[in-house]
Symmetry: C2
Subunit: 340 residues, 2 copies
Amino acid sequence: MTSIKNLQDIARKAGVSTATVSRVINSPDKVSEKTRRIVEQIIREHGYIPNEFARSLRSNRKNMVAIVNPVPQESFLSFPYFSLFLRSVTQWFSRVGVYTLVVLEDPNQSPYTTYRKMMEQNVVDGFIVMGLKRDDPRIELLNSLKARFVAIGHTGEEGPYVYVDSDNVQGGYLATRHLLELGRKRILMVNGFENDCSSMFRLSGYQKALEQEGVRFDPQLVINCDLEEETVFEMFSNEDFSLEADAVFATSDVAAIGVIKALKRRHHSLPVVGFDDIPMASSFEPGVTTIRQPIEQIGRKAAEKIFALVEGKAAQSEMVQVELVARDSTLRCQIQSDQE
Amino acid sequence: MTSIKNLQDIARKAGVSTATVSRVINSPDKVSEKTRRIVEQIIREHGYIPNEFARSLRSNRKNMVAIVNPVPQESFLSFPYFSLFLRSVTQWFSRVGVYTLVVLEDPNQSPYTTYRKMMEQNVVDGFIVMGLKRDDPRIELLNSLKARFVAIGHTGEEGPYVYVDSDNVQGGYLATRHLLELGRKRILMVNGFENDCSSMFRLSGYQKALEQEGVRFDPQLVINCDLEEETVFEMFSNEDFSLEADAVFATSDVAAIGVIKALKRRHHSLPVVGFDDIPMASSFEPGVTTIRQPIEQIGRKAAEKIFALVEGKAAQSEMVQVELVARDSTLRCQIQSDQE
DNA sequence: ACAGGAAATGAAATAGATTACATCGGCTAA
DNA sequence: TTAGCCGATGTAATCTATTTCATTTCCTGT
């Protein structure tokens, strides 16, 4: 078999021009039934697949989207279930012939460089930007570059951008209400830092639940930290750390586990709620009550939206619902806090 | 500022031909000092970045590498620490200007289609192929497509391909020896399926350790299963399941956790060793003794090797060392198996 | 001062598609 | 019959770099 490599070869074989072959591939309705059949046949016969790069060069459509992570330290790991997210995005894209690039922001440079470079290189149609922070400069940056993007997470204001996010307010609310329903009133909240917008929203859900039950909000009961297991474990293990609360809401499962371990060590037991529903939450003993984020749904929606934007269509920001998964860390917790 | 978009604009501004500008970028030593200075200045001034796709089209160098996962069900998740692996690959690549694509094999088609399509589309320089199985057909396939690739995992024979893999024999050996050193002789091995090559190697490490201690290998003590937590938990929870072994070596941490939970429920305790050192292994109580795979190192090496291959250089397959991480699941286990 | 070779540069071909514009039939309406 | 239009097709320009080959420039040695 003669080696068939490109459009021209196909055109020659089919006895038509390259333009016609291209049309058969890209807008079949502009070609007569008869010609189309012939060309399609030859394409199939030779298993011809167009060269993506040549195609992009001319049409300026890259069929590639980058998932961009903030600087390494806080990237992947900070985002629970990243691989599930990635899989769901990739899966969705593959059905429409789009490839998924994974990119880390260059830690040595301003994010500007990372994005600008990719824009100029003309390498992707758009971005999925992970881990949006409060007042995240990347939004303005991407807009100024006229980049198409979808953010995971949001800043609060409905800015000039599209995002997909879990309903963190609802998450905070559900977790807190669950504890209130168990009769707890002094709920310690172990939250992330204040510049993290999901922390912000979770806090407001927490407050909302308290308010609804007529419990006064005590700012002393809110701790901001990095939510690492060790950090939290150390903090709670310290004998000086007062355990006058009667429940704990930690806004990450690993933090929740840190709390539970420290409490165990101090022969203490309090209902504890986490956040994310990482695999460990169900495997740990006791199983950690937590707020499950539909991460695959978030991935799918992000993919859908960036694709729509690339196609020149409109896309709306969206919040996805979270749910409470009740497990032993709150259900089996019989021992009360020793309130002196 | 006039909009500077491409080589031509730069060439015009600098008063040279496009060829010269291209040379300044790609082989500066072929250009006179003086011209180079001028052109570089203009490039910097305008922040010009070449269009990757045009570049690839001509030079046939794509600066993209795909990490390919087997069909979704067994992909990402089956590979512990996938995101760490991915991060380390991406990080390494970014330093040499290569982008990382993440691809799933199309579950509806033969893997052939997935790889062939990418080859014809001319979209990547090479592949990192995940989750290699025994007699994996993908090796021959990729070779027949003249694709450059590096496999993660290996089949045993030093075939015509380059791989990076943990030393699974050593892993099996270390785990088993650790248990033997605790005085255990009847070590139950909960292994993956036999067509999985890492299972195969771990088994042979297990046998090697036994042999070295003069303990007879009893095939009855080897169980093949899917290594999921539930599967193993169910199996070990069943009262009919005899617990005549005096230790357990499960070749995945989640399986090990399944074992520990089931043993707890049966008020039983045996030293248990896992494999992988997933985050849960250290967080679980008791901490799971396990074999740590240097996953980031594997990622880095895979990146290095595929890059070398793409550059036309040689690359050698490599095994990376694993290490035993001893934790409470073997160290604190005082209770003996109740051998009737 | 000049031949000859090396170094620097430019013109044009090239990679492999898409697409604007031109052309050619065939068909309808006058 | 023929002007006029439409749909199908082809021609050639285009996208943006890289690279071959030809040409010019600059030395070096005699």
